[in-house]
Amino acid sequence: MSAVQTSQRVDEAPAVPAPSRPAVNVVRRAIARAVLGLCVLLLAVFILGPLIWLSLRAFAASWSYPSLLPESWTLSWWRQVLADQTLGSSIRLSFTFAPVVTALSALICLPAAYAFARFNFPGRRVLLVSLFATNAFPKIGLFVSVAGLLYSLHLMGTFLGVVVVQLLGTIVFMTWIPAAAFASVPRSLEEAARDVGAGPLRVFFTVTFPLAAPGILVAMILSFLASFDEAQGTFLVGAPNYITMPTEMYTLVLNYPEQAAAVFSILLSVPSVLLMLLVRRHVMGGRLAEGFHLR
């Protein structure tokens, strides 16, 4: 070490004298602020711009390029659209399917999630990953060949059939994220409960579940959104009896004058946005990310 001592210093540039420094900083800060502000603005335009632009259109009587705002406004498109009764039913349907699917998904996936997190059994990882297959195969191809299967199972055009098709999109979330949540509950907390006399089941419901709840909530939100968003499969299986919002929307967006389509878009994204305002906080936590770290 003393030898180290002798070898010459390779260190620090002389310190900048203290007083001059703050002045420099002020300028730097100002610039940094400006740049930052710009970034925020850009992101805002990128994310929100399209949505706002679209909603403007819903109130436009005439709007000709190039002008930033419609020349004249109207509500006629709203009247026209709201007159359409199919809308209501499809919204109602969407809101029956999404919860049902989420619940069912939770029912079959949560136990699995717990097992993945707590037990060690042969092929654990393989199975965990195999669920991932649902994401990897393109939906179109999948649904086409699913159709045949559903017929032979007498599921075509039935409520259950639609549920199944939407379920497929939720399984990965519903297994991976809760699995991570369960794993993050220290075993010692469970053992402490066993120690004071609680049986395994009670331990799960009084300790493990409450502590994993946030993660599970996130999973449920995502599942809800997933089944809420599913269009192609739902049409293939559900038509004619079950036409959900997004399915409806394909048609509308493509077959109505832009303004009407805009109105539809607003109406149909209202529920999602409400949901967002409710649950954004939970989704932002690291819970989601945790789920995608396979262990």
């Binding site: 066993r194 004071v196 006399g197 502590l211």
Partner: protein
Amino acid sequence: MSDGLRLRGITKVLGGRTIVDGFDLEVRRGELVCLLGPSGCGKTTTLRIIGGFLRPDAGEVLIDGTPYTHTPPERRPTAMVFQNYALWPHMTVFKNVAYGLRLRKLPKREVAERVERVLESVNLTHHIHSYPAQISGGEQQRVALARALVLEPKVLLLDEPLSNLDAKLRVRVREDIKQIQQRVGITTVFVTHDQDEALAISDRIAVMNNGRIEQYADPHALYREPETRFVADFVGTMNFLEARVRSASQGAVVDLGDGVVVPCAAPTAFLDTPGTVGVRPEDVHVVADGDGAKARIVRVMPRGHYKEIVLDLDVVTVRAFVGMEQPTEGDVRVRFGRALVYVDDRLRRGSPSAPARSPAVS
């Protein structure tokens, strides 16, 4: 005889390694026993076997004579305080403590009463409605203790309950624990790797190494007469010297070779071939002059009410604990008090055999 806790030939293999190896332990009712040992020696594993979180591969666990070897934790009369307390973050202090009682379907009033009583005993009543996250480490520790005590278990198990407290607190809380334990008079097994802690609070200490018990004795005996070299090394500070112990004109001496000879008041035995001799720092007597081996003071470390000094005896360096008043400059002379003689790592006692070259009296 069969009161308290008994482990008979407990063996546990984990991940192919034998972690606990034919472990026998007997804890009297109301006694506080420490499992003391280096990290990884199997303390926690043993404790978890007693608590029922692990099934031993062999041996049995008896509490007040009844076998509990295969009973799941929830049906054992044991209560555990976990290393990180394992308080349930989503329950208030009250709920945490009440949990076990609620399970037992006690009337609300009684639950409340008992919880309050136990929280009083660890004086935490003012935090009864706080959440674990809102209270300090030491307080959390006491909550965990209360949670264990409120069930009035027959055996209390503590796994390094103090290791995440800071130095000052650690000392205070360990005395609280001891007091409460004595008051309640509960049979207790206390896991730690801090010998200071063990010495301070135990009735008896079981020093563990590689899943076996090296020595099981009360603190005083353990410190004074460590049966094995491991114990001698692990408990307290010890100077180990490669030396011979023989009797000379002025009495017994420790001969370090190269003509360095230290008078020794009380060796446990004589050694005519060089062996290991252990001398406690407080048994290294340092005097300004008078007879004794020459030594130089290399370093002085104030330890509060005493000083730890490092002495150079040419062939070896030894540590000594001396009072604050003791002058600690320059050259001094060294004498040993008790000296523990180890042959193949076990303490050798008994009538010193006369050194080989002086004709033995037959």
